[in-house]
Amino acid sequence: MLDQVTQNNEDNQVDEFEITVPSPPELMKRRAKSHLGLILGGSVVLLALIIAIFSPFLAPFDPYDQDLTRRLIQPIWHPTGTWEHPFGTDALGRDYLSRIMFGSQVSLMIGFFAAAISAIVGSTIGMIGGYFGGRTDNVVMYLINVKLALPGLLVALSLVSVFGGSIVALILILSFLFWDRYAVVTRSLTQQIRVNDYITAAQALGASRTRIILGEVLPNLMNQIIVIASLEMAVAIIIEAALSFLGLGIQPPTPSWGLLVSEGRSFMFFKPYLIVLPGLAIFFLVISINMMGDGIRDITAPEGRN
């Protein structure tokens, strides 16, 4: 910080006593460091990411390895629990800790790619509508209205029943569900940005429309898009879990948290840990992603808080 200040002063040869204002990135860094939600949420998301990537090495057992002699062993906090299976075992004798660890792969992968693909699709539609206006914008508004009118969960369930519950199918179906919020936000922001002088300048310089949208408009929307993406990622994770819970998402034996809750349901009165542990895993991941998203919004676009 000090170095920067002195250097600035040398470069510009300004009075040493001028009050230096920290640069926007510097301000953002400062806000990030003191934002408890961002730090807490970010750490949990990072932890989940590490577990997801390294679960083949970290998990104590193979999550698919059945051992019917070791069915429904209680978790460690139960008097009969052992450290060998800290989260107990499921109805087929599979180590529950390992299954939950591997389950993070499904949730994070589906959440991330669904949010990313819908971000690309939705922002493109929104920017086109906002930039061109007129007839094009009418078409965009019409698409958004159609999307909003459709009952999302029912459409997702029907599509999954047709296309099956593979991870790729789920990612594509969920992306189809979530593009509208990006489109709504980027459209109205692009309308505001379009009238700025730097856009007129770019037009006067003869920049192509694609170039203006990608080079001048998009960078100004990035913060907002990232914030929406983090919130939509959380929603996508919940919907994937719900679909798998209903038996129409990820198919057994792949460990998905929603599927684990659904499999544990028949035992839930006597072995509540079978639904509580995966349920809490979803809850903590989603709450951390939300906290991280709110944090990113607070530091990059504090005016957007509501």
């Binding site: 009952p151 459409v155 029907s158 029943s161 809750v261 009165f269 349920g279 989603v286 939300n290 509501n306």
Partner: protein, 305 residues
């Protein structure tokens, strides 16, 4: 106003037609429906017979016009599974879903508005943080997980509430709590933001300067203005709940439209599925149209802008 109304109506009809096409084609994407209906061991002759029986051998657009034409007169076809008229099946179960949706919205508002108002009066205090925490919790907990936890606690451990069916009001308590909690955050955030905006405005300062009772300023002047966007959100949430109570209805075995949709999707009963998707969309279109008109009536900036 008339121009605004006509334009809005025109868009709604356009959207409704598109939605009808989409709901019609949803389950038909699977390709050969007749083969699936006939079962795995069916011969080609049997498949052709079934295709002919259900009219599936006709061109797709003819099937669509046939269905859409009948749908306008209220005939949504018959279920492939029970052979009952689809419209009757839906009507029979609509009551349960509408009840559940309205109870949930009322509960959501009862939680959201007082807490949202308190949070806006005292921003950045512990009240505000508590409200934010509650909203974050309501957003993050998966519906089905919350429902199962309540079943374990209130249904099995304490034995206070019935866990399945829709015979009495008591059957609706846990489903309402689940859905109420999940719709509460949006209402609360909107109440808080709306109140913060309004409380900051000039007319509130004037009202206070006139020496009006603070409570009167709060409820008569501020909340009235902050509540406008909540009316629009109510329409959206009601539309969403009419098509989105699938999970909760199937967990609590509430015999509503959501449960019917789920069962029908599982057995590829496409006349039922396409009708429910279509009707849920139409309900949403009507509700938002209605709330837009109310807002336009109340706020001239919308109808002239």
């Amino acid at each position: 106003m008339l121009r605004f109304l006509l334009h809005r109506l025109y868009i709604s009809i356009l959207v409704a037609v598109t939605v009808s096409i989409i709901s019609f084609s949803l389950l038909r994407l699977s390709g050969d429906l007749a083969a699936e209906l006939a079962g795995e061991d069916a011969t080609e002759k049997e498949i052709a017979l079934i295709a002919h029986q259900y009219g599936l051998d006709r061109a797709l657009y003819i099937q669509y016009f046939d269905w859409a034409g009948n749908a306008i007169t209220g005939d949504l076809g018959r279920s492939l599974f029970t052979n009952e008229p689809v419209s009757e099946m839906i009507l029979e179960r609509l009551g349960v879903t509408v009840k559940l949706a309205i109870y949930s919205i009322v509960l959501g508002l009862l939680m959201a508005i007082p807490i949202g108002v308190l949070a806006a009066i005292r921003p950045n205090t512990w009240v505000d943080r508590f409200a934010l925490g509650l909203a974050v919790f309501g957003q993050a907990i998966p519906n089905f997980f919350f429902a199962l936890l309540m079943i374990i606690l209130f249904g099995v451990q304490l034995r206070w509430l019935p866990i399945s069916g829709n015979a009495s009001f008591a059957h609706f308590i846990m489903p309402t709590l689940t859905l109420g909690t999940s719709v509460m955050p949006q209402f609360m955030r909107l109440t808080r933001t709306g109140m913060l905006d309004v409380l900051d405005s000039d007319f509130i300062r004037t009202a206070r300067a006139k020496g009006l009772h603070p409570m009167r300023v709060l409820f008569k002047h501020a909340l009235r203005n902050a509540i406008l966007p909540i009316v629009s959100l109510m329409a959206v949430v009601l539309g969403f709940l009419l098509g989105g109570t699938v999970i909760i209805e199937s967990i609590f075995a509430l015999n509503g439209v959501g449960f019917l949709a789920f069962e029908s999707i599982m057995r590829q009963d496409f006349p039922v599925v396409q009708s429910i998707v279509f009707l849920a969309s139409i309900a949403y279109i009507f509700l938002t149209l209605f709330s837009d008109l109310i807002n336009a009536q109340l706020d001239p900036r919308i109808r002239l802008g």
